[in-house]
């Protein structure tokens, strides 16, 4: 019954979304029509939420007559993973996409702010069409409520690798980000139809963009952290096509966050902001297509049904076609930009957009190139980390060199000399870091430049705060408390980028790695530590059996215990690795247990890594996400305070 109720709610949501599209697009200035549009949008979100709740209920009840539940759940699974299993599969995740889209539509409909009623109404209408497209796809090509007859006694279980708290939160975060990009898209299209994109429009756009960017940052960081501790080889970013699928919209959102500032504060760049909003959503849809269609050689792609791939491509073509078409037709009507010097806050933000867009383009080329070559009959190839490291890293490096100048320059006409003089201490220390790293690391350029840039970004952020405190009269400490939240949030995000750079460079350039065979009682010296295998035994978990190695780690005077496991789930023939991680000041000691070594008798293969400063990577990403969140709070508070 619950499944049928869910399917019914889904159909209801589709009908309401279509009505929302028609009502919204047939915009009028009448209050009554606007109220009706908002009510329909809210009802659509309630219906879609109910549908999603039904699916969650089926997972919690372990109703194996529902195909998705039977394929992805199991009675023995802990409750958290039964719930997380709802979106750990294709059908459920698409329903989540729909739900988020309708919820955002309702939120957009409920907050008109200072926008003109016709613009707002059209944006709500387009958002309704976006939801309708997603709902049509879900209902007709990946119905999560399809029944199985006869129903199996037990389910196939969720892939044990995916039974993890970080990965339970990873898809919803990414989807909030992906779908979040649909609201700027709707607003951009509405502005094109209106033929006007003013500062009030950009003001409405900014919170959505910030929210989407923050969620994408957090979602990508969670996925990366999961890969780091779950996959058992210490990697955190692989330039896997599926990772690129989330990284491209992130770059787009990041550029949009910055260009929307220019449009809101200065009224210029409106046409570029609109184009970015369209492309950002296009990249988010492309990400969905790449992940969902199974076209990629990837360890992630789990949907294999060409009809689905084609359907997502059609939706992508509709969104981009209507977006670019409208843009070509209407963008010339948008007002002339306000003038500014190249050396100014605007100029720096344009640099930022330029760099991020090129980076996104390069990632797009690298991701699609194997597909194009294969379609052209050129054989199977893969474009891996060497390509992306070669292309993306220099572009990001150029971007980072310019970054600290942005906040230091004033709007319209900036004083480059003064900014340079203020940033001089950061520059000197960054160059010193660069020189010292060069001298200490056999003149290797990559770690030297990378660490130098990290120091430059971090100190650049600190100097900006100091410069803000020095401005005007009064004691610096007294001003610390009244510094606007927006200053803190931006600086935090920029420093986060520096911390992430330091961590990424340290981890990739200085990691130590060693594979050893250890018998119980034997020791090995690794990275200033003495590691002893104390014993290996069997342990029972809630729905698995584990082989657990107990280790003792002596580091200076510290002695600590560590364990690493291999887990065997009853539902899966494949074991999973649970690594042991001991975080220290110099990095993570990371231990993975391998197979028994056959020729050596009772010894076990153990792989040891020292990942220097690896926590800076995740810490830096968290700082960026927190910066985005605080920025969003600052923005909303300012709105609430404004008349």
């Amino acid at each position: 019954m619950i499944a049928e109720l869910g399917a019914f709610c889904c159909c209801l949501a589709l009908a309401l979304s279509l009505a929302q599209g028609v009502l919204g697009l047939a915009a009028s200035n009448k209050q009554a029509r606007a109220a009706a549009t908002a009510a329909v949008a809210q009802s659509a979100s309630v219906a879609c939420f109910a549908a999603f709740a039904c699916l969650v209920a089926e997972f919690v009840r372990s109703d194996f007559s529902v195909a998705v539940v039977a394929e992805n759940s199991h009675v023995d699974k802990p409750l958290l993973y039964k719930i997380a299993g709802t979106w750990g599969n294709h059908e459920g995740s698409m329903l989540l996409w729909c739900m988020v889209s309708t919820l955002f539509g309702a939120a957009l409909a409920s907050n008109r702010g200072r926008q003109r009623i016709s613009l707002w109404s059209r944006a709500v209408g387009i958002q309704g069409l976006v939801s309708a497209g997603a709902l049509i796809y879900t209902l007709f090509l990946s119905n999560p409520f399809a029944r199985l007859d006869p129903a199996p006694i037990n389910g196939a279980g969720l892939n044990p690798l995916l039974q993890d708290p970080a990965l339970a939160a990873h898809p919803p975060m990414l989807y909030l980000g992906y779908v979040g990009m649909s609201v700027p898209f709707s607003l951009a299209l509405a502005a094109l139809i209106e033929g006007r994109a003013d500062r009030a429009w950009a003001e409405a756009l900014r919170p959505w963009t910030l929210a989407a960017w923050t969620c994408l940052t957090l979602g990508i960081a969670l996925g990366s952290y999961w890969a780091y501790y779950e996959l058992g080889w210490g990697g955190w970013w692989f330039w896997d096509p599926v990772e690129n699928a989330s990284f491209m919209p992130w770059l787009g959102a990041c550029a949009l966050v910055h260009s929307a500032i220019v449009t809101e504060r200065r009224g210029s760049l409106a046409s570029w902001t609109i184009l970015l909003a369209i492309m950002g959503f296009g990249l988010a849809l492309l990400g969905t297509f790449l992940v969902r269609s199974g076209v990629l050689t990837s360890v992630h792609a789990f949907a294999v049904d060409p009809r689905r791939g084609i359907a997502v491509l059609v939706l992508l073509a509709l969104a981009l076609g209507s977006g670019f078409g409208l843009y070509a037709w209407r963008a010339p009507k948008l007002g002339a930009p306000a003038g500014f010097d190249p050396i100014s806050r605007e100029g720096m933000l344009i640099w930022n957009n330029f760099g991020l867009s090129i980076a996104a383009g390069v990632v797009l080329i690298g991701t699609l190139y194997p597909l194009i070559v294969e379609a052209a009959g050129g054989g199977l190839i893969s474009v891996g980390p060497p390509f992306f490291n070669l292309t993306v890293a220099p572009i990001m490096a150029l971007l980072f060199v310019a970054l600290p100048f942005g906040p230091m320059l004033t709007w319209r006409i900036g004083d480059f000399g003064a900014a340079l003089a203020r940033l001089a201490p950061a520059g000197v220390l960054a160059l010193a870091t660069l020189g010292a790293t060069l001298a200490l690391c056999n003149w290797r350029a990559v770690p030297a430049i990378g660490l130098g840039l990290g120091v430059w970004l971090i100190l650049g952020g600190v100097i900006y705060i100091v410069a803000r405190l020095r401005r005007g009269e009064g004691r610096a400490l007294a001003k610390l408390a009244v510094l606007p939240l927006s200053v803190w949030s931006m600086t935090l995000a920029h420093i986060g980028a520096g911390v992430l750079t330091v961590g990424a460079i340290a981890e990739t350039q200085f990691r130590a790695e060693r594979a050893v065979a250890l018998a119980p009682g034997e020791s090995v010296d690794f990275a200033n530590r003495r590691i002893t295998l104390m014993g290996v035994g069997e342990v029972d978990g809630p729905n698995y059996v584990a082989t657990r190695a107990r280790l003792r780690v002596e580091h200076g005077d510290d002695v600590e215990a560590l364990s690493a496991e291999k887990r065997f789930y009853s539902t899966s023939p494949m074991p999973t690795t649970e690594v042991g991680i001991l975080s220290g000041l110099d990095g993570d000691l990371y231990v993975a247990l391998g197979e028994p070594v056959r020729d050596g008798g009772a010894a076990w293969a153990v792989r040891l890594y020292l990942n220097p400063l690896v926590q800076c990577i995740f810490g830096g990403a968290l700082m960026m996400a927190l910066g985005g969140l605080l920025s969003l709070i600052a923005l909303l508070r300012r709105r609430a305070g404004a008349p």
Partner: protein, 144 residues
Amino acid sequence: MRRRNQRLAMIGAAAAVLVLASALTLTGLRDSVIYFVAPSELAHKAHPGQRLRLGGLVVAGTLRRSGDGVAHFQVTDGRVAVGVRYAGLLPDLFREGQGIVAEGIWTPGQEFSAERVLAKHDERYMPREVAEALKQRGEWRGAR
């Protein structure tokens, strides 16, 4: 006048960055792309010392470890079996008789020296390259 010079300098810098990015992309696509080969194609398609992805099924009964923990096994596409050596920990999903992709360097007359071994992600998934190679050989027994 100063403003125009600034603008010209900015446009020049932007063009330089664009040229740099294009050059890097083209170089990258020429040099950093890794070709996929099946074991039977190794002899006539690959250059010695070239970085490759070798895909196929692990031959049952060939996995052994030398004393230093290095794994040795054979990979086949149904026609030719090639020996592979790998010093790292094999992935959790590595099994004899199943599809894997080994990325590394091939030298004629020696074992394929793998630096990365990718196995299928779960029991239903096979690296696409392996599936394609097996389909071409008529060795495909999967559902899809």
